[in-house]
Symmetry: C2
Subunit: 203 residues, 2 copies
Amino acid sequence: MTVEQGRNAKGTRGRPRSEAVERAILEGVVKLFEDGVPLADISVERIARTAGVGKATIYRRWSGKEEIFVDVLRGLEEPPATLPGTSMRDDLVVLVERIRRRGLNMRSSALLHNVFAQMKSLPKLWDVYHETVIEPQRRVVRDVLRRGVENGELRADVDLVLANELFVGPMLVRAVLRPNDPLDDDLAARIVDTVLEGMRPRK
Amino acid sequence: MTVEQGRNAKGTRGRPRSEAVERAILEGVVKLFEDGVPLADISVERIARTAGVGKATIYRRWSGKEEIFVDVLRGLEEPPATLPGTSMRDDLVVLVERIRRRGLNMRSSALLHNVFAQMKSLPKLWDVYHETVIEPQRRVVRDVLRRGVENGELRADVDLVLANELFVGPMLVRAVLRPNDPLDDDLAARIVDTVLEGMRPRK
């Protein structure tokens, strides 16, 4: 569940009640992030104290603080992209555009910027984030590329892992590694079309 | 100067003497890195103490610890790539290959991995590193691309900033953001050739 969804949960009884507890826990972590507490200093104990619950309540829902952090980050993400399905090209533009928007969010949110800056120092958090957020997105791109090979939009001899990085890599680099470079509105379409077309002049 | 060059300096007098002092300072910082001391905990004072010199000796050479860190990192880099100059394509392969090798170094060196993981939490260090290490490399790529437009290897209507990221981005992503993905020997050539050729099937 996401922080947003949690906000709509009613604290009556049974499952909704449980959602209210989860919401309190996740919002407590957001508060710690916002206060600039280093991730390494946030323990399950501290999360429990912030949310006013016992540690056991937390461990019934998550196996450790990394899983909680990832749920918080997921709650701050946009919902999954809806693919137009009109062509591989159009689907790719939507998926690359999503990376651009995540980049814009990251630039405007001190919280996100701060959390991601620390992420690489916490290999376990990085692993959980990678497995539960990044990998599913890569699979979506892979499926779109596979359909492109089937319908003739993509050369059949292309390595799909490499293709994935050719379409996604330039935007990721711009969004994550080059915070001062522009993220223009039409960047996703330009990347996808240029990679499809190639940069060698056509005679 | 680099740590490697420093190693050959003789501690006699004048400039060589000064190089021996610089070497001692830089190697002291390498030692702190190797001991896993967090970058945030390394002050100019601590560097001075480790190297057995006064703070003034350090400030005569560097304006702050960020500049020292970047000099250490630069000393651990391979020397600049020698461009074959036979074609834009061949020059690009050499430049992208250099990123692949930096990725391999990063994966095998706990020290480098550790320092880069912390880099994003230290914006000033990131800025100095970007300006003195990354920017000059981007300029080299840009010059190569410009020559490619001149000699007809690259479409003249292509945005050169975007082109830079299309060639360099996929390798950067693989090397820096996807530490578990393979960095095959022929990856640089495959990226450059695929981006030049495009991924749309040719009729």
